[in-house]
Subunit: 226 residues, 2 copies
DNA sequence: CCGTCAAATGACTTTGAGTCACTTGCTGCG
DNA sequence: CGCAGCAAGTGACTCAAAGTCATTTGACGG
């Protein structure tokens, strides 16, 4: 009886979310729990039933909020990605002094520190997440992405005068490619981690932040040296 | 009765593969059929039961040759990847005249034309394929990869004198990252293709070969300009 | 305080990977 | 020549997890 009340208090939400505000809150709870599970394991290992349990909901309820597992994770990625864009944009806008390629590279790499979930999800985007999802959801996502890309791309262009008209977004796309690729190499399945721990495998071990900074710096130097 | 003989003739393999040679041939049949299905669809859409059917085998038999679906696709990737390494190496070894960054970039991009399956699989490697596979198989794969990376890396270094000691393999890793990332952006799920077909989505459309050539050229220019 | 109705539920369906007790084709030996 | 032995092959079965939906129930309006 006591625990019953306690559980209720813990979630601090009416059992039925009727107001849009409450629905939004419940949605957030689901996303948060999914994220926690994902951080601790992998996409494949996260079970919708577990997400439901952690969110103190029945499985069916989760499917009321997200029609498929892919849709849930795409929504999660959307949150993280646009939060990151905003953060990067802030760093670029408010950074004083002269901007150079290496500085930009460092800023980007730093802005991605502790964002492992974001970059891991990014690597899943086209191969997994966009597979079992409605056109509508993908459209919304891409629309949003386009906007962020153009906006932050313009900021990048303003900061690095050697960039030509329209190259900002292009740099961001190459950056996206590098991030996706490097994350895949740096973030390993347990089996792989074990294998790469062997001494002679050292050349295959990748330090995400380090390599990203290096590659992006080189890429920007290549654009400047043109 | 007739069809029975016909079926036998078609596969041109004894029903029981006892010799190692026959086992190898059967293994190849399975890999080939899996590849065909994958080319036409996606990893998730390829069913082991279908692979078996196409290979004129029972489902259980496929699992005799590959312990899991992931193992099958990892083996497939292994074949394609090392064939590509060999091809690239050949192009680099036998190419006459002076080598420059742009030339290398073009050579690489061309060597990847028509290799969509390879690059698509590459994008699945760490996120999917290395998830449900034995340490042993991963070790074999990585061992092989390391060897190819060092060998072809050395060839690259020889061709581009502005590269410093040991930078060849590093360039190849960044290349790998770009390939993985760009393929993900260029190779789209049907839903995504539909969305990006909208006129205003043009900036998000990616031409794989073009972008790869551009990014790699820039990256190499960045190394040369140092 | 009750009628209404959308939110929530969880038993059920479906799908597909992976298993294993049984069957059968091949080969070598008597 | 045929048949014993055995590894290759089989497919019905198990199991796990996504996704469905008929039924239940809590909150709000009257």
């Amino acid at each position: 009886m006591v625990s019953h009340t306690a559980a209720k208090a813990k979630r601090a939400l009416p059992q039925r979310a009727r107001k849009d505000e409450d629905k939004e809150a419940r949605r957030r709870v689901i996303l948060d729990e999914a994220l926690k599970l994902y951080e601790a394991t992998s996409y494949a290992a996260v079970k919708m039933a577990d997400v439901a349990e952690r969110a103190e909901l029945a499985k069916g309820t989760v499917f009321l909020y997200f029609p498929t597992k892919e849709a849930l994770f795409l929504a999660l990625l959307e949150d993280l990605l646009f939060a990151w864009f905003a953060k990067l944009d802030g760093l670029l806008e408010h950074g004083e002094g002269r901007w150079t390629g290496p500085r930009l590279a460092r800023t980007v790499a730093e802005s991605l520190e502790g964002q492992e979930s974001l970059t891991r999800l990014l690597a899943l985007l086209q191969t997994v997440l966009e597979q079992n999802v409605t056109v509508e959801q993908v459209r919304k996502f891409k629309e949003h992405l386009l906007e962020a890309l153009l906006h932050t791309g313009a900021t990048v262009e303003r900061r690095l005068p050697f960039l030509k008209e329209g190259e900002g977004p292009r740099v961001l796309m190459h950056l996206h490619a590098l991030v996706t690729g490097l994350r895949q190499m740096a973030d390993l399945a347990p089996v792989t981690r074990e294998v790469l721990a062997l001494p002679h495998m050292a050349p295959l071990r990748v330090d995400f932040t380090g390599e990203l900074t290096a590659a992006l710096t080189t890429l920007l130097r290549g654009l400047e040296a043109r």
